[in-house]
Every structure is written in C-alpha cells, then in structure tokens.
C-alpha cells in the first residue's frame, strides 16, 4: 500500500552529480565579445598593437605598410607606408603618439602617428628587423633583428647605445621589462631566451625554451617572464635563477603571440592551430577558448578587454568588439581569486506541512529506492551496479552506496552479492576511485569490501581476483597522484603570490620630436 501521508523520500543523488558545463564567469565574460568584423589586408598580418590611449586605435603591420585602424568604424584612420620592403612589428609608445616599426630593409623607423611623418631612422642592423619595442622609460627603442643581434637605440640622438650579439639564430621575439628601463629580453630561433642588463651590457640569464621562440612577455611584477614557441608556453622565474615555473601545453601548432588581458589577470595565447586560448594567470588553467577561421599570426587586445583583434595568415584581421563595456569593480581589483567549491543547484524540495495532509499524485519511485524501502539492500545494489546505470549515471550508484553505508547495511548487501556483481562492484570501485566527487564514498565502500573479503580472497573467481589486484594498483597510483598534486599545489601557490602586483605608471611625455636629418632624407614614394 502506498502511503501518501509520510512519503518515502528518494535517495539524494544530486550531490554526486557532475558539475556539468558550469557557466563560469570567464565563459560569460568572453562570450560577450560580439560577432567578428573581418577586414582584408595585403599579405599576412605580422603584428597588431593597440594604442594605449583612447580611442584605442590599433596598428596592423602587413606587407609594406602599417595601417592604423579605428576600432569603432573599422576603417583605416592612418596609413603609414614609408617602407620599401615589408614592415614588421609596428608598436605604439605608451602615450600613443609615436609608433616604431622594423622592416625587411634592416632599418628601424619611428613615426609620428598624427602626421605620419618619419621622425627617426635607426640604421645599423644588417638583417631584417622583426620586432621593435619602447623601453620602460619610453626614451629608448629595442630592436630584434635577423642578423642575430639585439639593438638598443636612443631616440633623441638616434644612436645605437648597445648591441647584443649572443644569439646564434634569428631573433623574432623580445620584451622590455615593466619594472626597469635597463632590462630587456630577447627570444630567438636558437631556442634560447636571454635577459640583458643594459647598464653593464651583459647577459644576465639564458634559458632554453626547447623550440624556436616566437613571442615573449613579462608579467607585470617583472619577476616572471613567459616565452612561447613551438606548441608550448613556458613560465620562468627570474629571481629563482630562471626556474621553469610552469609549462603550458594547450596548443597543437606553433604559438605565435602572447598577450595579457583583464587587468593582467588573464594570459592569452594565439596559435597557428586557429585558437586563441585564455588562461588564468594564477593557475595557468585554460578558462576560455576562441576559435578563428585561419592560422593566427598576431593578436592584440585593448584596455578593459573591449576589442580583440586577431591577424591571420591570409591577411584577414578579425575585430571583435564587446557589446557592453565592462564595469570594473574597484573594490575587488586586487583580490586573490579563490576557486569556488563545487556549487550545485538543485530544485527546491517539497516541504512537509505540519497540519495538512497532502494528497499528491502517486509518484513512481525508482527501482533502487523501492528496494531500499523494502529493505532488500542486496537487490538495490545489484540494480545500480548494472553497467547501464553505473557507467551512465555513476552518481546514482554512489548515492545508493552512501545510503547503504549510512544505514550500516552495505556489509550485508555486499555479502549477498552474486559473483558477477562482485566483479561489477570492483570495476565500479576501480573506475571511480579517482573522481573527486565520489572518492570519499568509494573509499568507505572499499573499506567495507575489504573488511568482508579479507580472508576470502582466494575464493574469488580468476576474473575477480584480477580485478581485485587492479584495485590494489589503482589505489597505489592514486596515492602517487595525490602526492604530486600536493607538491604542485605548493609550487603554484608561490607563483600566485608573485603575480599580485599592479602596474600603473604615468609618464610625462610632452617632448616634441622634430624629424632628424636622416629621417628627412629617407623618402619613400607611396605607390
């Protein structure tokens, strides 16, 4: 007789449910980047850079010109085409008024963005210059050339201050330190990344990336730099003598560009495998992934993550603009992000009303609950051990095992299991031991299992004996994994502590630079 007054409650399996496709903050945040606008350019897009000041124009370097785009209208605002051969690595100064670019013709040119005039021409390299940057004090320019040298140039005098010739192959990547104007970084195709001190003109540190380096980046603390090359991204600790802190291997083709986003709390990487991946800087875990139609050569993101531009190998620039600008909450800017626990949501349960008897419709209970209600525990266990349920809905099986444990009847249930189901139970224990949501209950169940069969192992069938041994091995390997995870956790905590520095420097850059004589001589007629 079904009793409606005091209904039997279903075994709650919700707590073991997979936190299926939880919508994280990041996914929602990055999904808000709108549909891409595609712009076609001539030749592959070598480099993209956003102007750090409003209205956040971005410079796209491709073939023989540097195009400055308006991100709102998506049309070319300025066209710098004072190059004879291909231009490379157009990069804005911190005030957005100057732009420096290298070129195939081995000269580094400095432009005034507003007037498009050439202000300086730095000659001295013997090979094409692929990357150029301003130093931290914005008074010098670094250039990375295919003649295997790194050059440091003074803007005002147009002279070469320093020259580093230690690489043995093309240099295609580099970065200026965010904390010191005298420290620069270079990454080369000879697989090494070198750190120089311009005061003593010597190499401070050399690390081996393991494949040709395509891009390098400093974290804002200045103590950690990141190099990308091949399919891997590596994180290095400077203060620890170049210790490899982390190795991110999420792409399956060469990683071409690295960027920091979201107020330096996210790392972005673009690759020839057509993906842009976004990592949490504190954990270096992928938090989001954006797909593009072709291999990506360059990528840039504006302040506040408003516009994401990606340059592809076929000369197409994809511009994605955020629909609504982000409101940054000031109060939690520097908050160390903790990962929230598994937060599951369940539908509201019915609530028993004290003085009212609800006559609701007869609800059919699942088989296992009916059997538990009838105290046929062994049968209930066999029902949920059937492969269909235990593979497809392991949370059901675990919930029933937990309920039996609570009632202290799991022993009885296991003792009465048939040989076949003992095998199934062993298989279930082996396969689910490592899943965090189940581990606690599985360990409890395994304890009971071992208590029962301790002395009777020899009576098992060969298959079950084999499974039992597997379980044994599984436990051992699980312990190993746990140990290494604990070690890793400790290591990552160190990085997290290092990554919490803000960088907001203000530069007084009110200098007006007149074109030098060399620049005035350098006349390129636009075709």
């Amino acid at each position: 007789m079904a009793q409606v007054s005091f209904p039997f409650k279903k075994t709650n399996k919700a707590i073991f449910k997979k936190p299926a496709s939880v919508l994280t903050h990041d996914i929602i945040y990055w999904k808000k980047l709108g549909l891409p606008v595609l712009v076609k350019e001539f030749g592959a897009i070598d480099y993209l850079d956003f102007s750090p000041v409003e209205p956040y124009y971005f410079a796209a370097t491709c073939s023989v010109r540097v195009q400055v785009y308006d991100p709102v209208t998506k049309v070319v605002a300025k066209n710098i085409s004072k190059f004879v051969e291909a231009a490379y690595g157009g990069c804005f100064r911190a005030d957005g008024r100057l732009l420096v670019a290298g070129s195939e013709e081995a000269a580094v040119k400095l432009f005034d963005v507003q007037s498009k005039n050439v202000l300086r021409v730095f000659t001295g390299h013997t090979g094409p210059v692929h990357r150029t940057f301003f130093t931290k004090d914005q008074l010098k320019i670094i250039s990375y050339s295919d003649d295997k040298s790194v050059g440091l140039w003074d803007i005002s005098t147009e002279e070469r201050i320093a020259n580093f010739n230690e690489h043995t192959d093309y240099i295609r990547a580099g970065a200026a330190s965010p904390i010191s104007p005298d420290i620069i970084l270079s990454g080369s195709y000879d697989h090494t990344v070198k750190l120089y001190d311009c005061r003593s003109n010597e190499t401070i540190m050399t690390v081996n990336h393991g494949s040709p380096v395509e891009s390098t980046l400093f974290l804002p603390s200045g103590g950690i730099f990141i190099s990308a090359g091949g399919t891997e991204i590596k994180v290095w600790d400077i203060f620890n003598g170049g210790k490899l802190l982390s190795n991110i291997s999420q792409h399956h083709k060469t990683v071409t560009t690295l960027r920091l986003a979201s107020n330096n709390s996210r790392l972005m990487s673009a690759s020839l495998d057509r993906h842009v991946k976004i990592y949490d800087v504190s954990t270096f875990k992928v938090v989001h992934n954006i797909d593009f139609p072709n291999a990506i050569l360059s990528m840039a993101i504006s302040e506040h993550d408003d516009i994401l531009t990606v340059g592809m190998i076929d000369g197409i620039i994809s511009i994605r603009k955020r629909e609504e600008p982000v409101r940054q909450s000031e109060k939690r800017k520097n908050l160390l992000k903790f990962i929230p626990d598994h937060t599951s949501q369940t539908k509201a349960d019915t609530v028993e009303v004290a003085n009212e008897v609800k006559i609701n419709k007869k609800q059919k209970l699942p088989d296992c609950d009916v059997l538990i209600r009838k105290m046929q525990f062994s049968k209930a266990l066999t029902v949920v051990l059937r492969p269909y349920i235990s593979v497809k809905y392991p949370e059901k099986t675990t919930a029933v095992i937990q309920e039996l444990l609570r009632r202290e009847v799991l022993r009885v249930a296991i003792e009465n299991l048939e040989e076949k189901f003992i095998g199934l139970l062993l298989k279930f224990l082996i396969s689910k031991l490592g899943e965090t949501r189940f581990t606690r209950t599985i360990v409890d169940a395994t304890n009971v299992f071992i208590d029962i069969f301790e002395g009777k192992i020899n009576m098992f069938s060969p298959e079950n004996l084999y499974l039992y041994k597997c379980l044994f091995k599984r436990v051992e390997s699980e312990i190993k994994v746990c140990k290494s995870i604990a070690e890793l956790e400790g290591a990552i905590n160190l990085i997290m502590a290092g990554a919490q520095v803000s960088n907001t420097d203000v530069y007084e850059l009110n200098d007006t630079i007149a074109p030098s004589t060399k620049a005035q001589k350098d006349i390129v007629i636009d075709v």
């Binding site: 007789m1 009793q3 409606v4 007054s5 005091f6 209904p7 039997f8 409650k9 709650n12 919700a14 707590i15 919508l23 903050h25 929602i28 109060k331 939690r332 520097n334 908050l335 160390l336 903790f338 929230p340 626990d341 598994h342 937060t343 599951s344 949501q345 369940t346 539908k347 509201a348 349960d349 019915t350 609530v351 028993e352 009303v353 004290a354 003085n355 008897v357 105290m375 937990q402 444990l405 609570r406 009632r407 202290e408 009847v409 022993r411 009885v412 606690r440 209950t441 360990v443 409890d444 304890n447 009971v448 071992i450 208590d451 301790e454």
Partner: protein, 892 residues
C-alpha cells in the same frame, strides 16, 4: 525576585511558558463521542478536535498539582472524566462543561509517586507507584475514589524498572485482573478483587516483555517482547500455559505500544521502527493474519489509542498523529520540540522571523520548525535534509541521523542558511550547507525554497556558526576546520542566482581541517561485524546497566545516547578553534573568534584588519555581535566566563563584566542586547554602558533547565519581548506583564454550582457575549493585512492621512522595520560622529524639546576638528575597563 535597576522603566517583566511542553508523556484518550481527544500536558489536560487537530479547550485541576499520570472515562459513566496526579489526587471533571466535580486524595504511602492510573469502575481505581519506602519494588493497589481509602494492596513483588512499567486492566471470565509488565521476561497477572489469585507468566525463550494490552471486555490479553513478536492470549489468563496463543511477528525491534481495537478484532502495534501495524486477529477467520501498515511516521511510537473511527498515535517527536480506520493519517497534533537526542547535544537554533512573526527552531530529525508566536501553533515543519530517517537495526538501535547543526536567517528575512552534518566515525563525515529563499508567491505551501546546496562546504568539518550581512547579500560560515568562508549571492549567471564562495579566510596555517578530523588522516580500521545471530544481543533477555530498551522508552528526553558521536574522530585544537561570527551592519567588517583571539576582517578585500585579545577573554571565545543603530561602533563578545564590549574606534575594551553567559542576542531595530547566564539571569543592556537597562535574576530554577538560546521578538515602544529556549527545548517568553483584559478568556476558578439559585441563572448573559470574530489562523494573514494597511496609508494623499503624532507607534515601528540598509559610508560615519559628540549634551536638547525635537546633527554642521579633539580626549580619558561600576551592578 525581581531586581529592578532602572527606575525610570516602570514595566514589570515576567517569564511565560510559551511552547514546547511535552504532550507525549502519557497516553491520550478519545472522548466518548469520538469528536475530540484529551491529552495530558503536565498539569493540564488539553482537548483537541479530532478533525481539525486544533486545541479546543483545557481542563485544569482546582489545586496546583505536579502533573497528571492518567486520565480515563469510566465505562458506565462516560460523561465524567477522571484524572489522577503524581501525588495521588484524583480529579473528576464533567465532560460537557469542564467543571471540576470532585477532588479526592488517595491515601497512598508517603512520598510515593504514582506511575500509572487505571479505573476499575467509577468508584475504584488501580494504581502503581514507586518512591518513599517503595524504591526497589513497586507499590500496586486498588483505591476507592469516593473516599480515597486503600482497598487492597497486592503482595507479589515486582521489581521497579521505572520507565518500563506498564499496566493493563482486563477481564477474565467476569473477574477483573491487572496485567503488569516491567521490562523483564515475566508478566504479572493479579486479580483485583481476589488478593491471592495471581499468576506469573514467563515469556517463551525468556525474551523480555516490553508492553502489555488487554481488551476492555473480552478475555484477551496481548504482550510484545524484545524479539518483536506480539502474542495474543485467550482463555483462562491465570493459566496462560494452557491458554490459546496467537503469535504475530513483523517487528524486529521491541514494539513499545500495543492496543486492541474497540471490538477486539484488530490489534495495533508500533515501536522503534516508526511503523504502525494493524493486525487482524484470528476471530475474523476470513481474513486471518492480514496486516496493514502506516509506515514512516515521523517519530518512534510511544502510545496508541483507538476508538471506532480513529487511531491516535503518540510519537516521540512531540506530536500525535491522528489516523482514520483505513490507516491514513488525517492530521497531526503538533507541538514544538521533539528534537532527537543527538540534536539535543548540539547548539540549539532559535531565530525570530519578523515577517511571519514566528520562531524558527530545531524540529524533529532533519527538520526546522516554524512556530507562530501569535497563534501559538507550529506552522511548518521544514524538511531541510530531505533524507529518509535511517532505520534502526538490532545491532544499531539508535542510528545516527543527519542533523542540522546550525541555521541563520538574514535580517531582512529573505534568506535562510542551514548546515547539516553527520559523522558516525566510520564513514567520511557528511556536511552540507544549504541556502533557502523565502517563498513569496505561495505563502501557504512552504515558507522556504532551496536555492543552493553546497556539499562539503567546509571540507567535511562541522559548521559552528553562520551569519548574514544586514542586506542578506553576503553570508559567512565558520567551521571546525578553523576557516571561515564568505559566500556571496551571485545572480549574474542566471535569473534565480546562486550562492558562491568568495573566499576562505584563516588565521593559522589553514591546514586545520586535516588535523581536526582524524578520519581524514588515519588509516581506517574495519569495525566489528554486526552479528547475524540476533539471539546474541544481550538486551533481548537481560536488563543490564545502560539498558537500551530503557533508553528507547525514554527516547524523548534522553541525553546520553549519542553524546560523543557527532564529534567522533575529531581532535580539537582550541588554540585557533573557531566559534562565533558576526558581520557589521554595513557589511564591511567581519568579526570572528579564533580561539581567544577576536579578529576583524575586511569583507571586500578579505584581509585581516586587526586582531583583538585580552587576558580576560581566555581561554576561548563563544559568541560575538555587532551593536546596532547608534551602537554600531561597538563589538560585544562573550566567552565562557565574561561579557566584554570593544570599541572599534579605539580598539580597546570599553567594559567587561564577569558572568557566565549562555547566550547573547541583539535586537535588529534598536541598540538593545540581551545576555542570559548559566543561572538563568537575564540582563538587557546597550553596548554604551555596563549598566543594564533591565536585569532579573534566576527567572527560573537552573536545576530544571538552563536557557541556552535567546532571541528578540517584535519589540513595542517601550518594552521588549525576549524568547528563550531551555535545554529541554521548551520555549519561554520574557515580556512585559499584561493586564487581565489582554487575555483571550478568563477561566473561572470554580465551575461547580454554588447554590440552587445560581443554577437558575443563565450561564452567560446576552450582554456579556462577545460577537464572534474569525480567528487568524496563520500569522501570515496578519502580515498580509498589515502590509495592505500600510500601503493604503502610504498611498493616500497627505491631506487625507491623520497627523503623524496620532499614528500609533507600533505602526511607525513597522514602517521603520522595513527601512533599507544605508549603503553609503558617509551616513555611517556621521552616525558614529553623532555618538562621539557626547550623549550628555544631546540629552539636554532632548529634554528641552521633548521627544519630537529634531536631532542635534540635523541642525548642526559638523566641525571636524572639534569632533576629532573630543574623540581623542574621550579615548584618553575613558578608563579601559569600568570594573567598579560593572561589578556592583551585576551583583558580583
């Protein structure tokens, strides 16, 4: 007894018993007409209607007594109700009027306490008793009700096994007999009129007999034993060996309750399994041995009473379920309490819900109860855990259930957070944090809906305290893992929103969760197998020390069953152990106890601001609360031996009092706070001074029970209502004394007709009759109407509304209670300054202009320099601890 400190306050406070009295101690009876059921509640008899389960009326004795032991209607005089008290006072009421007809003192031996009372007929009764000279064996005898004389005392010695003694009176071939069982294997049968006719029946295989029942008219007797069998015996009952027996066996645990149907065709039994079984007896041959069930009752069955149409089942969760003859539950007579023995050992829950005007507290296992203080009824039992109760087994008579350890309600009443915990020492501990939102659209159905459930929110360690911010957007929970977590309501992801963890903060190394819970660290050792051979359980045949059957019989007020189980495997490290937790009114600060260190944290940055410590606060803090309103800059904290107030401006102890606080609570709408001490003293104070506003010593005898929790109720203009929860789960209210007019009905002291003339008079005069008015059954109705009235008034144009001074103050307070928390910090600052610029000046202003004078700050533009100087002066001048004043006032 009352020590009045504040002479200006003319209110006299008194303690009232509010709810939670035991209605399950004794067997209830149906009235002869079957319309109502009479239930003994200590020294009163409550009469409930069977259909509605509402309290209809109460019957009281003329002289104060110490509790009834039994009530009964005699068979041939069923218009009178007979009741007997523990001291042997028999009271007879007329049923239709409820008037006391007669009192008779039975001439029982000195110091004897009556255990059972059964009527033989309208003139004679049979009682058993113990105490006085009868300590080892019980006294059982028949007495005359008319004169109170001893008629016959019987000789066979029966061992006194207090809660297990049960008596049933039956017929054996026109002879009355009494069947007595005392939880041993023997059943004593004693003829009532013939002192020498008696027999002892030893149960088969020596299983202990736990219960006995006799039919009212036929020669039938039934017993149950520890094996779970019910045996029905017919024939000559003085020679049971040769009588006909019928054995029914479905129970596997001792059935504590047994009852025949009126006609004797059915037998009802129930017990520890919480299942009522209805057996068909052999006399109905065509459906012999048929049985039907009423399973999953919310508590263990203590008594069963039947009449022709209904069954009343008394359950250990302090409720009586009324079922119809088809074994369908039709209603529940519910009373507060009924908390399981495990939950009794935990910190109790008592929260006043302003919206519903109800108290939220522990209910039966896995439930919280909402008790309306206006209609004095249990409104809801809210199922929090959503789990079936774990069935007891022979090897595990009292299994550990998942219990609610902690609960908190947000000040705006919007959110409820609960924590449940189960740790049996073998399995990994289970721990769940659940957030519930108030159910606004459908008030009748269920008051709370679950929003978020977080499994293992503190890594499997017990949650010890929960607190909400004033606006209910943030919640903090502290656990035995020595961390507290900040939870935030996040509705960015979906419409409904969920609670997510913002951060976990810890004061020590943060690895305490692994140290505090042995189970997470140690190897597990398989525990001994529960034996399949049930005959091995000693409780079935012998009575030993700590007899489990005795404990089951006394389940509803047992304390010793599972004391240590909830803390199994945990090794405490009191150095940094967490206890109380609080959030400031504006939500910017969190105060948390870590051992003897009171720490202050920034809510948004989640960083430690400062930690406060004082030698007097050692060894361990208990509770902490922020002041409200103008005392917002004070932090009130308690330890086991003192109450201290910190000033947050100077970070010094403002004052400190040595007492033993049991509970601390603060009023949401005023700056008042209350503290209850271990000898039941109540002090109501404000954090401003150590001089209590009101203080009353020993409001009830600490030997009877200690108040463990208190909560402010809806306060009126000048008085406050304080609800107190005693450790036996009885709820008291501490409120201003009311005049007699306030009472619902005045109970006439004597209902007996005085003279012939008085019988001629009409009982009620037409002029005195009050017009019937519908009674508000649910407090929510009151709430609905009041909010409608408020909106009515606030919508009306100003020239239509009465002047504000005429509006009653409670109405204004109602309005004030709904004010939104101020969110900008400036107002807060101003408030603090307002306090700083000294209360004595302000007092003068108020005295000059009366209560409606504008506040000083509104007219006065702040002079920051002056305020600063004054503040500094004050900090310098104020003594850190005002021990002189405090000790004298608190009488220490």
């Amino acid at each position: 007894m009352v020590v009045k400190v504040d002479t200006a306050n003319k209110l006299k406070y008194c303690l009232k018993r509010k709810a939670g009295r035991s209605i399950i101690e004794r067997r209830p009876i149906f009235s002869p007409d079957g319309e109502s059921v009479a239930v003994i509640v200590e020294d009163i008899v409550h009469v409930y209607n069977v259909q509605t389960c509402e309290l209809v009326r109460t019957l009281e004795s003329e002289t104060p007594i110490d509790g009834f032991v039994g009530i009964e209607f005699p068979q041939n005089e069923d218009y009178n109700l007979y009741g007997c008290s523990k001291s042997g006072l028999v009271t007879i009421w007329t049923w239709d009027k409820g008037a006391v007809l007669r009192d008779t003192h039975l001439q029982i031996p000195a110091n004897l306490i009556v255990l059972t009372f059964d009527l033989i007929n309208e003139n004679e009764c049979f009682i058993t008793g113990a105490g006085g000279s009868y300590s080892k064996n019980i006294h059982y005898a028949s007495y005359s009700i008319k004169t109170g004389e001893l008629l016959c005392e019987y000789g066979t010695r029966i061992w006194n096994t207090q809660p297990l003694i049960k008596v049933a009176l039956g017929w054996n071939n026109d002879d009355r007999f009494a069947a007595i069982c005392n939880g041993t294997k023997s059943l004593y049968i004693q003829s009532i009129y013939n002192q020498n006719t008696s027999a002892i029946f030893y149960n088969f295989s020596e299983y202990r007999i736990v219960s006995v029942a006799c039919h009212k008219s036929i020669n039938t007797l039934a017993v149950t034993d520890t094996l779970g069998r019910a045996t029905v015996i017919r024939g000559n009952l003085y020679d049971i060996r040769n009588a006909a027996k019928e054995v029914f066996h479905w129970h596997c645990l001792p059935p504590m309750a047994l009852c025949f149907s009126m006609q004797g065709n059915y037998l009802y039994s129930g017990g520890v399994e919480s299942v009522l079984v209805k057996w068909t007896l052999g006399s109905l041959a065509y459906k012999a041995a048929e049985k039907s069930f009423l399973p999953r009752l919310p508590g263990l069955v203590r008594y069963i009473t039947t009449n022709n149409t209904h069954i009343a089942i008394t359950l250990t969760n302090n409720s009586i379920v009324i079922a119809n003859a088809q074994m369908h539950a039709v209603g529940t007579i519910a009373e507060c309490g009924g908390v399981s023995p495990t939950a009794r050992t935990l910190e109790p829950v008592l929260i006043y819900q302003h919206k519903l005007g109800a108290l939220l507290m522990h209910g039966p296992t896995g439930h919280l109860q909402l008790y309306s203080t206006t209609s004095n009824k249990v409104l809801y039992n809210i199922d929090i855990t959503g789990q079936n109760r774990i069935q007891p087994e022979r090897w595990n008579l009292m299994p550990l259930q998942t219990e609610i350890t902690c609960a908190s309600l947000s000040p705006n009443g919007q959110w409820l957070v609960t924590s449940e915990y189960r740790n049996d020492g073998f399995m990994y501990p289970e721990e769940r944090l659940k957030f519930w939102t108030i159910n606004q659209n459908n008030k009748q159905k269920s008051p709370f809906l679950m929003n978020t459930c977080i499994n293992l929110s503190h890594g499997g360690c017990r949650v010890v305290a929960l607190a909400f911010s004033y606006d209910g957007k943030l919640c903090v929970s502290s656990g035995l893992d020595q961390k507290f977590r900040v939870w935030e309501f996040d509705c960015s992801n979906n419409k409904r929103g969920i609670w997510v963890c913002l951060t976990a903060c810890y004061y020590s190394s943060g690895v305490a969760q692994y140290l505090s819970q042995g189970i997470l660290n140690n190897f597990k050792i398989g525990h001994s197998e529960p034996s399949d051979d049930f005959t091995q359980f000693p409780y079935m045949k012998e009575m030993r020390k700590d007899d489990p059957v005795k404990k089951l019989a006394n389940f509803h007020n047992e304390y010793t069953i599972t004391d240590d189980r909830m803390s199994a495997g945990s090794c405490s490290n009191s150095e940094n152990e967490m206890s109380g937790l609080a959030m400031s009114r504006d939500g910017s600060l969190i105060a948390a106890w870590f051992g003897c260190k009171l720490t202050l944290w920034d809510t948004y940055l989640c960083t430690l601001r400062t930690s406060l410590s004082h030698p007097a606060l050692r060894p361990k803090g208990v509770d902490v609360k922020f002041g409200n309103n103008d005392a917002a800059h004070y932090l009130v904290c308690t330890t086991e031996s003192c109450l201290a107030v910190w000033s947050l401006l100077s970070l010094t102890v403002k004052w400190l009092v040595q007492l033993n606080p049991m509970a601390l609570c603060s009023d949401l709408l005023s700056n008042k706070m209350a503290v209850v001490t271990s000898n039941n003293d109540i002090h109501i104070f404000t954090p401003h001074s150590s001089k209590p506003l009101m203080s009353q010593q020993r409001v009830s005898d600490p030997n009877l029970g200690v108040f463990k929790k208190c909560a402010f109720g809806a306060s009126t203009k000048d008085g406050v209502t304080l609800y107190l929860l005693r450790n036996d789960v009885e709820v008291f209210s501490f409120e201003p004394e009311k005049t007699k007019e306030g009472r619902l009905e005045s109970i006439p002291h004597s209902n007996a007709p005085v003279s012939k003339f008085s019988t001629l008079l009409a009982e009620q005069q037409l002029s005195a009759v009050r017009r019937g008015a519908p009674v508000d059954t649910l407090a929510s109705d009151v709430d609905a109407t009041s909010s409608a009235a408020i909106s009515n008034i606030s919508m009306a144009p100003p020239y239509m509304t009465p002047p504000v001074s005429l509006l009653c103050t409670t109405f204004l307070q109602e309005l004030a209670g709904q004010e939104e928390p101020k969110d900008d910090e400036f107002t807060d600052l101003e408030e603090k300054m307002n306090v700083d610029q000294s209360s004595d000046e302000e007092d003068d202003v108020i005295k000059l202009n009366g209560p409606y004078a504008p506040r000083a700050t509104e007219l006065w533009t702040p002079n920051y320099e002056a305020v600063k100087a004054k503040k500094l002066n004050r900090i310098l001048e104020d003594p850190f601890i005002d021990l002189h004043a405090t000790s004298s006032l608190f009488g220490i």
